[in-house]
């Protein structure tokens, strides 16, 4: 008998969540809102809403529908649904194929462009889509006119030429050659040179390895040789696929500067080429070493990358030519000053063996060796261009 009231009581206490499972969160929400609007003192009193026992809520909750308007539950439910669906990421402007944030990024890649109203990237994106449609349709017209089956880059160029308001694309499409009739003949000559050049440079590398003189400048010339076709191909036809072996060669020789300083190298190529007759086969030291060891004469005229690559070659010989990791090397050795390079070079030229560079004491030796190897007079005119 004593168990009965307990049982009924427990039944009642269990009944509250069972009967109103869906009202409970709604009320919680209301309660949150109330807390939000409360003053500091009141909110202090009400502060731990979750800690309050639900039995206290319950009577007040039952009083709420009676006091407030009867539509509150129907108004409440959608809002609570929205809050429950909050973490779902909503895509704004789902109609746009390209996100306005991206458009804005592209717009602001130009330094001059500052702030803009939020609708501007959207509008520009829409206009861009419109442009894309028109441009593609024009290109498709060209394709169907020429009877081709695939839309190739030169079709885009022809489409650009056909419509005056596409003229702004000219700098992008300038390099795209339009084949007259004979297919895509414009690619072939350059590819031929590309495939020839690495062979040559390999040859020279081998000779460097075999000969007692391992001369960094020769490596650099070979790099330049291999750089020539890449310059040509990037200028004339940026979309041609490079010979993978050729790229590998470049990367091995000079890890990351090759692409950025290629233009520089191209400009300076002619001068260096005339100074060093690298294609003459007997790669003996007397020809090359003087130009090498002349301090601050020729070396500053060689671009930075070549200098670094020469140091890389001279230092990396102990590693057995292991392939350097791709990308930008994080811990680069300190940029050697010109004299240090010269020291190593001349040392190698003398001994044929690489010494660890210890600049302080070798420098004087180097200067002496320089004086022995090289008469002073040609130094003076060579300093002038620097």
């Amino acid at each position: 008998m004593s168990l009965l009231p307990e049982a009924t009581y427990s039944h009642q206490s269990e009944a509250t969540p069972l009967l109103e499972p869906q009202h409970q969160p709604l009320f919680q929400h209301q309660f949150d809102a109330v807390v939000q609007s409360a003053t500091m003192q009141q909110s202090y009193m009400m502060a731990p809403p979750s800690a309050l026992p639900s039995t206290i809520f319950h009577p007040s909750h039952s009083s709420i529908p009676s006091t407030s308007s009867p539509i509150t539950p129907s108004l409440l439910s959608p809002s609570s649904l929205i809050t429950s669906a909050g973490p779902l990421k909503r895509r704004r402007f789902s109609g746009a194929k390209i996100q306005p944030t991206r458009i804005k990024k592209v717009m602001q890649s130009d330094e001059d462009i500052g702030r803009m109203v939020a609708s501007v990237p959207v509008a520009v994106g829409r206009a861009m889509e419109h442009f894309a449609e028109k441009f593609l349709l024009a290109a498709a017209q060209v394709v169907s006119n020429t009877g081709a089956r695939t839309l190739a880059p030169h079709h885009l160029k022809l489409a650009m030429l056909a419509n005056p308001h596409f003229a702004f694309l000219e700098p992008i499409l300038r390099e795209v050659g339009v084949p007259s009739r004979a297919g895509e003949a414009y690619q072939y000559p350059q590819q031929a040179t590309v495939s020839q050049q690495p062979l040559q440079s390999v040859k020279i590398d081998d000779m460097c390895g075999i000969g007692s003189v391992s001369n960094p400048l020769l490596d650099s010339t070979s790099i330049m040789q291999s750089a020539i076709p890449s310059i040509m191909s990037t200028q004339l036809n940026p979309y041609a696929v490079h010979n993978p072996y050729f790229m590998h060669q470049l990367r091995q020789d000079e890890p990351y500067d090759s692409l950025t300083t290629m233009g520089q190298m191209g400009q300076l190529m002619a001068g260096v080429g005339t100074q060093i007759p690298y294609q003459s086969s007997p790669l003996t030291s007397p020809i090359v070493v003087p130009t090498l060891t002349s301090p601050s004469g020729t070396i500053p005229s060689i671009p930075r990358s070549v200098r670094r690559s020469s140091s890389v070659v001279s230092n990396g010989e102990g590693e057995g030519g292991a392939k350097r990791p791709r990308g930008r090397p994080r811990k680069n050795k300190k940029e050697k000053c010109v004299e240090d390079d010269l020291v190593v070079d001349s040392d190698m030229a003398d001994n044929g063996v690489l010494k660890p560079p210890s600049p302080g004491d070798i420098k004087t030796e180097c200067n002496e060796a320089d004086r022995l190897l090289m008469p002073p007079p040609p130094l003076l005119p060579m300093k002038q261009p620097h």
Binding site: Q30, F31, V34, S79, R126, L151, P153, T234, Y239
Partner: protein
């Protein structure tokens, strides 16, 4: 590889452009090279318009680019009128979005659907109950 060497500018997502291409010319095959080139062209269009719009806004003695500047830029650059119309077509959507955003910002109270006085009364009632 060649693209990276040529420029490190921001491009557009190729995926979206592919969708556009597929929508516009579904029956024509298009080389990957042309896709990339087309991406460059679209990015160039955006930059082109942006530059002109910036010029116009600076002659307008503004520091912010407004929608009118974009429209004027499109017409200045000799694009046909439909480009401007296309740009206009998103304005309504933008306004709706802005409104929504504004409402979302200060809608903590509105969301619960109970007027503020009633909330206050409820609060007082709750306090008394405690």
């Amino acid at each position: 590889m060649a693209d990276n060497a040529a420029e490190d500018e921001v491009g557009l997502p190729q995926k979206g452009l592919n969708m556009i291409i597929k929508d516009v010319i579904p029956e024509i095959r298009i080389a990957n090279e042309s896709r990339e080139l087309f991406n460059l062209c679209c990015a160039e269009f955006v930059r082109h318009v942006a530059k002109e719009a910036q010029n116009i806004s600076s002659t307008d003695q503004r520091k912010t680019i407004y929608h009118e500047h974009v429209k004027k830029a499109l017409s200045n650059l000799n694009f046909p009128a439909d480009y401007g119309e296309a740009a206009d077509s998103v304005l309504g959507e933008c306004k709706v979005q802005a409104e929504k955003k504004l409402r979302r910002k200060n809608s903590r109270l509105d969301k619960c659907g109970i007027p503020e006085e009633e909330l206050y009364e409820m609060q007082q009632a709750l306090i008394e109950k405690m």
